[in-house]
């Protein structure tokens, strides 16, 4: 085989298949692990309204596994006017679930859609186990504690809101925007040996210009500590002096690697510790009661906690090294040191991870790797149990605009009449607050919008909520992002969103 043939074959193998090409723009966000979670998810959507199909469109396109629309209604003339997943007048009188499923399923061959024309009440009366097979359920104005995860959406005219009811959301593969620590302040032995073994004075001038700043700092810090009883620079004067020493290491004025080192010098006196949000998770009651039946997240968390008990009391090292001024050899060498140490940390972390024996071993190791790489779940958000009255009263003081909108929409839901008056809505909203707590001043603006269009499911509002809710659903399913943990309120008059 000639070399060019060999190249052609490797190139052909590297070229992604059509599914990867189709999902390319989202795989760059949540990778194969997130995609596989989506493909294994099953969604139940109660009603085939414009808002429901807007949400579903955004989840069928990225490739969820299955969706069911549960809706006994037939398509009305107004549905045919405001729902893109109905075919105008020709859909009127047909089953809304069947029409919407047919037109949504067309978006993606890889997704299974099912129309169920039963009523929700019928299902609740006859088949309570119906919901168990779904990952997530979406409803307009109906909540039930028995469902694992439920998104409830409510809107009128230009205003809308939704909330997610979930028991727990744990993230292992997080997308933190803060760069992992390089542990310059707690250099691991191989890095320290390397930095202290370099002879800066007799080094080739070209090499000198290409020593990575990480190495310069580790060395400068080691020298500093040796002269200061092992203590890093502490006072502002110390820090200034330290930076001057780094600058003094230059042999030519234009050595940018030393400028980088000076700019990054703060890393020498900023202690690498377990981030407070993760440390807080170590106090979780689920950790104290850890058993083989506990979810994998808590086994991972426990392994992580044990890891941090030993010196240097940090999270496992990340193997990713940011780019910096250096030549190829010195950079690759440094990268190897980091990778080797990251592997050691992972090994120290791995065996203590007592994952449930029912988990296949391949899954177990890949899980551990993921957790170790991304420093384990950063988030243990839990939806709060509801002393709602008092929550609302507190929110009215801190975020009056969003709370006013939330109260107006809740009042509309509570009244459940097609043409409520401002007076009736105001009274209903007042009843949602504890006695003696006044409605926020902004309530007049919100309630006026509700009274103007109490049953209007506007296409733009539906599409806006559809996008937000689908984003949240993706976060819940992929377990890589942080979902909202209370009501998200939307005002499309002034165009803002708020959290209550």
């Amino acid at each position: 085989m000639s070399t060019s043939e060999a190249i052609d074959i490797t190139t052909a193998l590297a070229q992604p298949d059509s599914k990867t090409r189709r999902y390319d723009r989202q795989l760059r966000l949540w990778a194969a692990s997130g995609q596989s979670a989506l493909e294994n998810s099953r969604l139940l959507v109660i009603s085939g309204s414009a808002t429901s199909t807007s949400v579903l469109k955004n989840l069928v396109l990225p490739g969820i596994g299955h969706f069911t629309i549960l809706d006994p209604a037939t398509v009305s003339p107004r549905d045919a006017g405001n729902n893109f997943f109905l075919e105008g007048e020709s859909s009127i009188g047909k089953s809304r679930a069947q029409e919407a499923v047919r037109l949504l399923a067309e978006l993606n061959d890889g997704v299974e859609g099912r129309a169920d024309t039963s009523s929700l009440q019928h299902i609740l009366d006859t088949d309570p186990a119906y919901f168990a097979s779904y990952t997530l359920a979406l409803d307009l104005l109906w909540a039930d504690e028995t469902l694992p995860t439920l998104v409830v959406v409510n809107s009128a005219g230009f205003l809308g809101e939704f909330f997610i009811q979930f028991h727990e959301h744990t993230i292992i593969d997080s997308h933190s925007e803060t760069a992992p620590s390089l542990r310059i302040d707690k250099a691991f032995p191989a890095l320290l040996d390397y930095a202290t073994s370099l002879d800066f004075a007799s080094m080739d001038p070209t090499d000198h210009t290409h020593v990575p700043y990480v190495v310069i700092l580790v060395r400068a810090l080691a020298d500093w500590k040796a002269a200061h009883d092992g203590a890093p620079p502490h006072t502002p004067a110390d820090k200034k002096l330290f930076k001057e020493r780094v600058q003094a290491m230059k042999i030519k004025f234009d050595e940018e690697n030393f400028d980088e080192a000076e700019a990054q010098a703060y890393r020498c006196w900023t202690e690498t510790r377990v981030p407070p949000d993760i440390a807080a998770l170590f106090d979780d009651p689920q950790l104290r009661a850890l058993s083989p039946a506990s979810p994998p997240f808590f086994h991972l968390l426990d392994a992580l906690r044990q890891f941090t008990l030993a010196p240097p009391h940090t999270l496992p090292l990340s193997s990713t090294l940011p780019d910096m001024k250096a030549n190829t050899t010195s950079y690759i060498h440094l990268q190897k040191l980091y990778k080797a140490r990251a592997e050691e940390d992972k090994a120290a972390f791995g065996p203590s991870s007592r994952c449930p024996s029912t988990t296949p071993s391949s899954t177990r190791s890949s899980r551990t790797r993921t957790g170790s790489r991304s420093c384990a779940g950063r988030n243990g958000a839990r939806s709060t149990p509801t002393p709602r009255r008092w929550v609302r009263a507190a929110a009215a003081a801190s975020s009056p605009k969003a709370t006013a909108t939330h109260l107006a929409l809740s009042a509309l839901a509570a009244l459940a009449t097609p043409h409520p008056t401002v007076a009736a809505l105001t009274a209903a909203a007042q009843a949602l607050l504890p006695p003696g707590v006044a409605l926020p001043d902004e309530f007049a603006d919100a309630v006026g919008e509700i009274a103007r269009a109490p049953t209007a499911d506007l296409p733009n509002t539906a599409a806006f909520l559809g996008g937000l809710v689908a984003q949240e659903a993706i976060k819940m399913i992929t377990k890589q992002y942080v979902p909202i943990d209370s009501y998200c309120v939307v005002d499309l008059v002034e165009t803002w969103t708020g959290i209550v």
Binding site: T20, Y23, R25, P62, G81, F84, L107, T328, I332
Partner: protein, 424 residues
């Protein structure tokens, strides 16, 4: 109001609720009822720029909210990687023009709506073309196209003729983040005013690429920037051609192997050379809905509209920020004042050009420079370029006096920038 035959009873039951009655924050000038419905459904003419991720959503929303005369411009054809979000397209449409396929889909799905597609560039159209619309919505992924559109609409404004002011609504997304804004040309901040809000594109220094590669990206840049022209000569690189990407990938992978650098993949190669930005349906849905909602409110006056910038970050909870972006007095498009530029008296013309390309609030590619009395450096035509080339090595101070004005133009932008030069 003449009911169109396709408007069955209750077709607009939901929308009519906000068109029949004003809300507490509605402008008192709002004419509730038939007048506003007639304008929206029988008179308003709206232009959508882009039939991609945002464009597909925008077209669907506009059609459902009652706009019946919609035009759409897009120069692209459909690619398989569009299908995860551009929901008016199917596998069978791959290779077809986006504008045409999108227009046909909307007309089939929403009866009575006319969508007129144009498969081509926005620069192909003249002022008369843009003057026929009431509103323009941009759903683009290109900064250059946005700058062109914004500047064109600012230039279109004739103070004697209020009809010449065309509101521009602009949306953009990246992953779980996005923004939507309303631009009233000459009245509010324009696209050019906010140029400094853009993230600086990652640029790798040529010496790193050529001599000290460290990252897989450096190897890919080496393959595309240095090796492609060296080996392929004048052959133009087409980043949509899998064979070209394959070649770049192979060359980059070989270089990475030589330098023991890990991580060159097909996907990364494609991402780097095409500057791919992650995109998902849900974020596009939010931003497009926001754009169309502003268009609806401006066209009907049924509610106050966004003043003037909405930013959304969906990665941690739902975080958004609505604020008024301020007009810049020294904006080259809508400001009227020259931009003060203090420079070193040692700076050469060539260095000044580099500065203009790099500077965050200027970013002009291939600028031509002149003073009110002479030409400093012109990029084209070739004769003038040659004639002015010797000036590149000269110091700016030799050609421009303290406080002197320099006019900067570029063929990619329909405006000129005035600089007031001072020396440090």
């Amino acid at each position: 109001m003449a009911e169109s035959t396709t408007d069955w009873q209750d077709r607009y039951y939901d929308i009519d609720q906000v068109l029949n009655t004003p809300g507490p924050r509605t402008d008192p000038a709002f004419l509730a009822g038939d007048g506003v419905k007639d304008f929206l459904r029988n008179q308003a003419k709206i232009l959508v720029i882009g039939a991609g991720g945002l464009g597909c959503e925008i077209l669907a929303n506009l059609a459902l909210t009652g706009f019946k005369d919609i035009h759409v411009i897009d120069m692209d054809t459909i690619d398989i990687s569009n299908l995860n979000r551009q929901f008016l397209f199917r596998q069978k449409d791959v290779g077809q023009p986006k504008a045409t396929v999108a227009a046909e889909f909307i007309m089939k799905r929403v009866p009575g709506v006319k969508v007129t597609p144009y498969f081509g560039k926005i620069q192909d159209k003249d002022d008369d073309y843009y003057l026929q619309f009431n509103l323009v919505i941009c759903g683009l992924d290109s900064v250059e196209a946005r700058r062109w559109m914004s500047a064109t609409l600012v230039n279109l404004v004739d103070p004697e003729n209020p009809e010449s002011l065309k509101p521009l609504i602009d949306g953009g997304t990246e992953g779980f983040k996005g923004q939507a804004r309303v631009i009233l040309p000459t009245i509010t901040s324009c696209y050019e005013c906010s140029l400094d809000m853009l993230n600086k594109p990652t640029a790798f220094p040529i010496c790193t690429i050529a001599n000290t590669p460290r990252l897989p990206e450096h190897c890919i840049e080496w393959a595309s920037v240095l090796e492609w022209p060296r080996v392929q000569g004048d052959k133009k690189m087409d980043t949509d051609d899998p064979e070209h990407i394959g070649w770049l990938y192979t060359v980059a992978a070989a270089r990475a192997k030589e330098f023991k650098i890990e991580g060159v993949t097909w996907s990364l190669t494609q991402g780097v050379v095409k500057n791919i930005i992650p995109a998902i349906a849900s974020t596009n849905a939010i931003i497009a809905a926001s754009c169309c909602n502003e268009a609806f409110k401006i066209a009907t006056s049924s509610a106050a509209y966004l003043n003037n910038y909405f930013m959304l970050i969906g990665t941690e909870g739902v975080y958004s920020y609505t604020f008024e972006h301020e007009k810049r007095d020294d904006c080259p498009v809508c400001g009227g004042e020259a931009l003060d530029l203090p420079i070193s008296s040692e700076l050469t013309v060539e260095q000044l050009i580099e500065l203009l390309v790099e500077k965050q609030d200027v970013q002009i590619k291939k600028p031509s420079l002149s003073t009110p009395t002479s030409q400093i450096y012109l990029q084209a035509p070739p004769q003038l370029e040659e004639a002015t080339r010797p000036n590149l090595a000269k110091k700016v101070i030799e050609l421009v006096p303290e406080g002197g004005e320099v006019t900067v133009t570029s063929s990619s932008l329909p405006f000129s920038l005035s600089l007031r030069i001072s020396y440090k």
